[in-house]
Symmetry: D3
Subunit: 275 residues, 6 copies
Amino acid sequence: MNIFLRKKYEEFLFEDQFFGDISTLLDDFNEIFTGYILVKEDCVIAGISHVMDIFKMVDRNFKVLELNFRDGDFVSGGKILLKFEGIGGLILKCERLILNILQRMSGIATNTKKYVEKLEGTGIKLLDTRKTTPGFRYFEKEAVRIGGGYNHRMGLYDAAMIKDNHFRILGKDIKKIEKIRRNIPVTSKIEMECHSMEDVYKSLEIDVDIIMLDNFSPEEVLKAIKIVNGRREIEVSGGITLGNIEKYSLEGVNYISTSKVISEAKWIDISLEID
Amino acid sequence: MNIFLRKKYEEFLFEDQFFGDISTLLDDFNEIFTGYILVKEDCVIAGISHVMDIFKMVDRNFKVLELNFRDGDFVSGGKILLKFEGIGGLILKCERLILNILQRMSGIATNTKKYVEKLEGTGIKLLDTRKTTPGFRYFEKEAVRIGGGYNHRMGLYDAAMIKDNHFRILGKDIKKIEKIRRNIPVTSKIEMECHSMEDVYKSLEIDVDIIMLDNFSPEEVLKAIKIVNGRREIEVSGGITLGNIEKYSLEGVNYISTSKVISEAKWIDISLEID
Amino acid sequence: MNIFLRKKYEEFLFEDQFFGDISTLLDDFNEIFTGYILVKEDCVIAGISHVMDIFKMVDRNFKVLELNFRDGDFVSGGKILLKFEGIGGLILKCERLILNILQRMSGIATNTKKYVEKLEGTGIKLLDTRKTTPGFRYFEKEAVRIGGGYNHRMGLYDAAMIKDNHFRILGKDIKKIEKIRRNIPVTSKIEMECHSMEDVYKSLEIDVDIIMLDNFSPEEVLKAIKIVNGRREIEVSGGITLGNIEKYSLEGVNYISTSKVISEAKWIDISLEID
Amino acid sequence: MNIFLRKKYEEFLFEDQFFGDISTLLDDFNEIFTGYILVKEDCVIAGISHVMDIFKMVDRNFKVLELNFRDGDFVSGGKILLKFEGIGGLILKCERLILNILQRMSGIATNTKKYVEKLEGTGIKLLDTRKTTPGFRYFEKEAVRIGGGYNHRMGLYDAAMIKDNHFRILGKDIKKIEKIRRNIPVTSKIEMECHSMEDVYKSLEIDVDIIMLDNFSPEEVLKAIKIVNGRREIEVSGGITLGNIEKYSLEGVNYISTSKVISEAKWIDISLEID
Amino acid sequence: MNIFLRKKYEEFLFEDQFFGDISTLLDDFNEIFTGYILVKEDCVIAGISHVMDIFKMVDRNFKVLELNFRDGDFVSGGKILLKFEGIGGLILKCERLILNILQRMSGIATNTKKYVEKLEGTGIKLLDTRKTTPGFRYFEKEAVRIGGGYNHRMGLYDAAMIKDNHFRILGKDIKKIEKIRRNIPVTSKIEMECHSMEDVYKSLEIDVDIIMLDNFSPEEVLKAIKIVNGRREIEVSGGITLGNIEKYSLEGVNYISTSKVISEAKWIDISLEID
Amino acid sequence: MNIFLRKKYEEFLFEDQFFGDISTLLDDFNEIFTGYILVKEDCVIAGISHVMDIFKMVDRNFKVLELNFRDGDFVSGGKILLKFEGIGGLILKCERLILNILQRMSGIATNTKKYVEKLEGTGIKLLDTRKTTPGFRYFEKEAVRIGGGYNHRMGLYDAAMIKDNHFRILGKDIKKIEKIRRNIPVTSKIEMECHSMEDVYKSLEIDVDIIMLDNFSPEEVLKAIKIVNGRREIEVSGGITLGNIEKYSLEGVNYISTSKVISEAKWIDISLEID
């Protein structure tokens, strides 16, 4: 288990338990019990690896008796995901946390899948954004990948983006963008947000890797593709919905991004039952 | 600012920036700029205190020029929440985080308000649950309060609950529940989850403070109220929706709880603009 | 082992060792040795679970050869608590810490027991306070429970108390206390400190769960009990000693609290010997 | 404020508050109030610098109005230590912590002073030990210094000690002790615990800086002093009490150590009052 | 100051001080003094921003009286970098740390500059590697930038590299490399290490952004450039020295990387003097 | 494994991986592979224990197949240090870190050995200083010990030093140095830096354990030795090189210290190969 994830799991457990679980201090809770996790509605399941890691971290006696699915599988409502055995009190200490992870991540993966299916065969990659729940981004972005999407940058540290607000600060001097390149690792890309066809033209004068067409109509996107003519990667963003995404699936578009895959995902109904 | 919140803010900023924001390393970003936060749709606003604290923590030059609302206020779409000035690069480092907090918390407060309004005048308190996004619970539960709801226990440490799975572990010996009382602070309550009228009767034989009627019909709730006859606080839970909550607003019910105030909240559209 | 306790153990070991134990860097200390823990004076033993967890955390080769008592047992001076084997240098790294925990916790449990025995048969619960050694509260409060007492609130987060200083800040407007209820989880209680019979009367006008009679004489307590007449839980506090506690053991009193169970506990003489 | 102390203060505040103080969420607690700290019984006061640092850390509005004593001063019961002003709710959040620190540290300083006075004029230094409350050692050892004592080593990292248990592990080969010297910084001393006159002789054959005469009678100490004849520093330890310490105050003794200055200290009665 | 840097500074101070600086506990050290930092040999100075941040973090009274250079400036031996005033004891607590940072970073910047000068006019970027001192990478890589170089990836998280050992694990199935692309953010690049001309040909069959020619002779590099013909970025690595770097400065090469800019840098002689 | 080291390893791994290693997310990397560590040039090997601990911490399947050397052994170029087996992806996650530790520590041990050999037979101890890479001091100082040197104080907390800058703050009142003794543990030494023969005379008037002769010529050292005449330990420091160290190896000198053993060490060429 990597350090980052272990710290996250500990932080999540700590949030729920602080100094302990005062409901399970009786000896009865130190016995081994069996139980199962039940998926109560159709979904693309996501988060299983975290469930395993958390149970094992908290309860050294935890044993998988039956594991029927892998992250990314479609699970129909009513199926059992996992049968297990473990110390009663320790399983209960994890119950709410592992359900919260599974329910939220599966909701995102399921939602992402719907968008990704609309892009099938186009070669266009469906991307997420940085609009994520504070502290839970890694899990939300992983769920997007599990649902078939790709991740946009993970944070402010692994790629540069020049957005509206950056331009207001930098003034009109677009050449300054190239100075940004000076400070970032050569293995990271720079992306420029375009709000007009004029911005698209400008992007060709400077050294950026990706341009984002923000809130362009499909027609405008088409026009921009022609202008760029393969010299930049193109990301379409802003106002993308399940209803209009296909209109943006144009040849020449590399990426379509939307925060909705995460922010509009519902929580899948999943429960844990001790036998 | 308390230690808990400061640590949370730092963790959220760290998640987004790790070693730094590679887009804003130019000198231009060290200048002071003005800007504003725009609320783009109707909502009960929540999270303002965190926005203030985060900006001040990151940017010692941060100044509020105009603050038009307080947590819990209704804000109509198009209104400016806040005008400020601060160091350009530092404001941009916080932008996504403070929007994620505001959008998510305001969504929860707005959603909670709808439920709370249905209970107006009944004296019944609308409660949340522990079904929250891992790592972000404090903020989600605060948003419920801001929206007019009350918090159920914060975690496993501040109250005891005996639920379905606990009963399976404890067997039929209901007297063991009283032993749990032995280990919890006298200032915390014990709650027992009831799944049948039989459970309700049992709850009267032992020393518990609250009973939760889980997935009872309104008629069953009514019957349980009569049985209990004021000897226990009563919480109604399970399957509560905006559509049916009024049917459960019965005299004798103390609390109605639902995870939906949090899990089904949408993200409110809010943006930050540098002038 | 829960996250909270593991962090505490690590912090305690770190305090004693920082970068290492410079006395035990020779190869000789890497061998396995046997040893035992000797209780040198009569006591109610407390802290054994922590000793086990710390040894196991530091030394994977640690084995219990003989464990003769459980937390809460009376141990007469001269008895062996535990025989074990483990890596010499690792056992010595833990020695002082586990003794400090055992000596301090057993002292508190033993002292608590004396107070609890005075209340035997009365149904009154002996409570601790928040007057604890900074950083070591969890262990001190656990020792109180092991000695037969109950815990008052664990901290400022799990129950509300309105004390002298709060009243000075709130002015005479006692109704404000009910507003405090608005912000606390419904599963936590509110307690009001009373310094006069007038305060007792006031407490009945507002929604509080427990009233504390602070520095009342037994006669005054009796009078307050009559006034309250079962409508509030009653805690007696202030100036309680082994000498006068029985005078306060009056029917109608729910709790008697004293910081002395912790602050006046002596350290029990216990040693660890390598064979 | 150094990093170590800041972390300790934060940990102590966190222990008491976790996510917050639920009693002081009303606006009334955001006002500025004045108050004072009252010392209710005679003592050597200790811990004032920590009180100042904690108040300032938590409340930027904190102001000292009057500070009447310094750490180490004798304070007679009834005197006001400090008059201050600060935000009501923030002062109350610190109240219990700063009192716990002051009461405990002043108790230790006062107790230490009694031992130190018995040694006045002898040049012998009164030392503490590592028998301290886990997590609070720094403060307890500082209180010993404030009371006029000296610190023995702070932990396992800043000096080497070869005690009973070490000898059992090392066998009879006393030469191994010199190998320990190989691994410790040249700026740290090595101390050897002697349980017999034979051990004292042995200590002269090897390179150690201090010998500790453990549980020696005053007569035996005298004999050991003659044998050593100034070639080693001498520490007397084991069974030292206020009653017998003067019998051990022999010329040639450098240090007398006792855990009692810490473990048998009482808590001084001190209170904080909001005006 | 960002969270990452603040944590680093705290960790560095903690390493040196742990619980405190025992040499400066006298009141004399609480006075304000002036002093200066003297650069004793020619160098490209680096690390000044960290020095400022550390002094300000530790000593709120710290004031810059005169600052004569900026990071990246050439400083000739004997020049004063900084005149300042601050609390004596606090300045001394930082002295060794800020000198260690300045001496090490300036050494790296100075060394990097020599390599960069050899590439002047070629447009080829000089890169560092991940061969850095554990825990100090950020500072070492920043020093490379200050000296005129560029950073290769910061760690395993911000770009993918397929090296010798990866190929041994993946077997001969080069198509698997494209699967790696599936899991990385679209804003990060993939680089493939080539050890033969055959590897170069293979790299053209799959979707990688950069190829690294590892331990190629200048002639082989030339040949590879022709094969690649602009379809991939090219990095030359392995065995690069100040003596041979110009032979590798061939048109078509994008990057030349060497760990030597960091690992063979000397420490620049710099001192801090209190007036 | 002690807490300090585990935290350091985690911090080092975190620096390199943050949220993960994006190059090794394929299933292929979850298989077990064998490999070896190859020492490519003559050296005194150092850091092996850390390599073992890190591999075991990250990969529970890690097994040593062959370990041919111990820390401090001379290893000739071309020898295999270690053959192992482990999970491919986990080994690769540690590869760069364990090489960075081995290469750097072996470089220091090898360099130290050269100085130590010049002192062979003299009884003089070769010391390091606090001029170390921030965050990596423990490892650098351990490497000095492995190379045959001794450690000077580990930091500001375990011994007191009165240097040039301290004297400037304390003024001419040398008696104040003795007050410093008041605050340090009796198990730690005080060292005084002397810059003239006058300083040496002064050092005899006060209670210090070690005097450091800073930048004295061999003749001056000789003179100082006579003056001191065994009443203080003597450390020679400043301008020591491999070329002149023997001139300072004079009878009466206890320690010779130089930062060069660490700052001028080269990185030893070592690689890890998966079979």
